[in-house]
């Protein structure tokens, strides 16, 4: 798949990966062996019939291909871009044994983009209307998937979103250059065409409560409130000016379009040398956004080694290509400010890897006396998020587990409260967009079973 060259792309927020042409897609689809018992589909969290849609592409029946994808996946343009296919469908491809697996992710994206470019109104006819009203809290990948699947079954689905735009992490978190917001918007429009209603500026936990939803006649509630509360390191200097949580940096840049300031009104204040702390996809996104906002040098600071970084390999490669420097086995100790309260440097210490910890990764240990000072003027803390507390505080009846995440039955996504299901980052065990979507799908199925 073609990409914008690193030299060009660091100067814009346009999409980095450019997708495939019809010719390239057909050629790639032709490589597929169309296994009788496809392992790729078995490894897809949203159960797409992969060989069948690839076969349609091979036969140049692109409208057929997207229909097959959409039988299971309401957000193909999103998934084709941000799914870690290398760990899922593509990892299971039998062609791995001979060399390269089929590039399933890019083919999915191709089918989705083909539809967006060629069909103005592709609507699905919902045969059966059902009376039950279902509330979905949060319009991120888990909520949207659950909402879409239930709407297709004929239920009345209302999605409540706290922000002014639907999409959750797809709009505030993932940058434009990885996932254009126009794609998210169009896929949400598709969900609306299925009958899903989205109410923005509506905070469940404030404007209404779980009890009130049931009193208003909702039969089931799905909680997909995400992990919106940013974690900080609790080190000195963390509240200095130009220390941002990754959430703040990304929300300003993505949701509020601060990269188009002053055409858009939301500002961002980025210096010349940016240290991004963390090793996940959010850290990679933060680093690449900082670079595009005009930083001259961007460093990723991570306390373990590159091998342990949780980010997708592709994102690490993209970051490196763009000139972002990885400083591994490094732990920030304190952030140093100038007399006006702005960041002027950061003190770090070197680490080495010891025995594996409970996560199976080798535990980083401080090397005594290895402290050093980095010359940076901006720090972005991307060390993780925990569930947004607004809804949870207002809903004490929900049983929470570790890190205040909602406990659910992994097969049905049911919580301890009757009629309440949950999925995505608000629950234990999910982390990627596709994992959240898988949870939304499981929940929709269980909800349907409970109502029929």
């Amino acid at each position: 798949m073609k990409k914008q060259s690193p030299k060009d792309r660091v100067k814009n927020f346009n999409e980095v990966a450019l997708g495939m042409s019809e010719e390239e897609a057909v050629k790639e689809a032709t490589r597929c062996l169309f296994c009788k018992e496809p392992k790729c589909s078995a490894n897809c969290p949203v159960e797409i019939d992969i060989p069948r849609f690839i076969e349609a592409i091979k036969n140049k029946k692109f409208d057929e291909a997207i229909k097959i994808v959409k039988e299971k996946n309401n957000l193909p343009g999103v998934c084709g871009r941000v799914c870690p296919q290398e760990d899922q469908c593509e990892a299971a491809c039998v062609l791995n044994a001979k060399g390269k697996p089929i590039n399933i992710g890019v083919l999915e994206r191709f089918a989705a983009d083909w539809e967006l470019n060629n069909i103005t109104h592709y609507t699905l006819h919902i045969t059966q209307k059902r009376d039950s009203k279902i509330a979905v809290i949060g319009s991120g990948p888990a909520g949207l998937t659950c909402a879409g699947d239930l709407a297709r079954l004929g239920y009345q689905v209302i999605v409540f979103e706290a922000l002014h735009t639907a999409g959750g992490v797809l709009v505030y978190g993932i940058p434009e250059f990885r996932l254009p917001k126009e794609i998210v918007k169009k896929e949400i429009e598709y969900l609306k065409s299925l009958g899903v209603e989205v109410r923005t500026n509506f905070i469940v936990g404030i404007n209404t409560t779980l009890k009130e939803l049931f009193a208003e006649g909702y039969k089931v509630v799905f909680v997909g409130t995400g992990a919106g509360l940013p974690s900080f390191m609790k080190i000195p200097g963390e509240n200095l000016d130009r220390v941002y949580s990754s959430n703040e940096l990304l929300t300003r840049a993505n949701l509020m379009k601060a990269y188009l300031f002053p055409e858009y009104d939301t500002p961002i204040n980025i210096g010349k040398k940016v240290a991004v702390i963390g090793g996940g996809n959010t850290a990679m996104d933060s680093a690449r956004v900082s670079l595009r906002l005009g930083a001259e040098k961007v460093f990723i600071i991570y306390r373990r080694s590159e091998k342990e970084m949780p980010a997708r390999q592709e994102e690490i490669e993209n970051a490196k290509e763009e000139g972002i420097e990885l400083h591994m086995l490094t732990l920030p100790k304190k952030i140093i400010g100038d007399d006006k309260g702005f960041v002027k440097a950061m003190e770090c210490v070197k680490m080495e890897l010891g025995e594996p910890d409970s996560s199976g990764r080798r535990r980083p240990i401080t090397i005594k006396g290895s402290e050093f000072v980095m010359d940076v003027d901006t720090v972005v803390v991307a060390i993780g998020q925990s569930p947004n507390p607004v809804f949870l505080k207002a809903t004490p009846e929900l049983k929470l587990g570790k890190w205040d995440k909602i406990e659910v039955d992994p097969n049905t996504q049911a919580t301890n409260v009757r009629g309440v299901y949950a999925g995505g980052d608000a629950t234990l065990g999910d982390d990627t967009v596709i994992a959240a979507m898988g949870a939304g799908k499981r929940a929709a199925r269980a909800i349907h079973n409970s109502l029929t």
Binding site: A162, P230, N239, P262
Partner: protein, 273 residues
């Protein structure tokens, strides 16, 4: 869309806007705020709820940057793209005894529902409001009706007594007014002076903080502030905190993060020069 019912200038660079926002009004109480966004390209800014009437809310804003300038241009009958809230904790208006509510500048407007709530809870409420000059003293009559006693100060002495709100507070404390609780809302420096005055006297003091916000729901951490040695989020943990424990120096420094950007945006639009 949220319909604007009125948008009037009530003092130099200070406007009062009444908005139809039924969902907000239904659950709103004193001390809470809304986030608003004017249009597609707008930023989200926090504004404290200054009054609630049926389906409508009142907000009072001072023109300080691009967004508040754009707000002044909105006519009654037009609408704001987004209004969400009520956000933050409502004021815990129990009976304390004698409560002294202090407002500075545009912060005065935010006092009204708070004063009313303390009064309704059976407290004796003393109000002290301060502004630079007479023209900037707002809500005096409105507040007079819901409190037991009101004092006005102006920097130049053009209304009430010359000086600062803290002068009146000091005098009240020295004269043996048994104040059980002080509530302060206004410029950070005013709240700091008040806190420094009540701390040695051991008078419980609350400050309503006006930090920089983006989402207002605990998501971004832009509003974080050190309180009692710990980082708290003004949006979801506040906006009211124990004023004796707030790191006001840090708050003032954090308020300056976007000053240059804001000045630039104003300059290229040719406003607020």
């Amino acid at each position: 869309m949220f319909k604007i019912l009125s948008n009037e200038k009530i003092a130099p660079a200070v406007f009062r806007m009444d908005l139809e926002a039924a969902l907000v009004a239904k659950k709103a109480a004193g001390g809470q705020f809304v986030m608003i966004r004017i249009d597609e390209k707008g930023e989200r800014i926090p504004l404290t709820i200054a009054d609630i009437n049926g389906k409508n809310i009142t907000i009072v804003y001072q023109v300080v940057g691009v967004t508040t300038h754009k707000l002044t241009e909105k006519k009654a009958g037009s609408a704001l793209e987004d209004v969400v809230g009520p956000l933050g904790h409502a004021t815990d208006a129990r009976k304390f005894g004698t409560v002294c509510c202090i407002g500075g500048g545009v912060g005065i407007a935010e006092l009204y529902p708070v004063v009313r709530a303390y009064k309704n809870a059976g407290n004796k409420v003393i109000v002290i409001i301060g502004a630079r000059n007479k023209e900037l003293v707002i809500f005096k009559d409105k507040l007079s009706k819901v409190c037991d006693e009101i004092f006005v100060t102006t920097d130049d002495g053009s209304d009430g007594e010359k000086g600062f709100v803290s002068n009146v507070l000091k005098r009240l404390m020295d004269s043996g007014a048994n104040i059980d609780l002080v509530y302060a809302v206004g410029p950070a420096v005013m709240m700091k002076v008040v806190a420094d005055m009540t701390r040695p006297a051991g008078i419980k003091t609350l400050a309503s903080l006006n930090t920089v916000l983006v989402d207002g729901t605990g998501m971004c951490g832009s509003c974080r502030i050190e309180v009692a040695g710990e980082t708290r989020f003004a949006c979801v943990d506040g906006p009211e905190f124990d004023a004796h424990e707030v790191n006001f120096e840090e708050m003032m420094a954090r308020q300056s993060l976007f000053k240059d950007k804001e000045a630039h945006a104003c300059k290229i639009r040719g406003i607020l020069q």
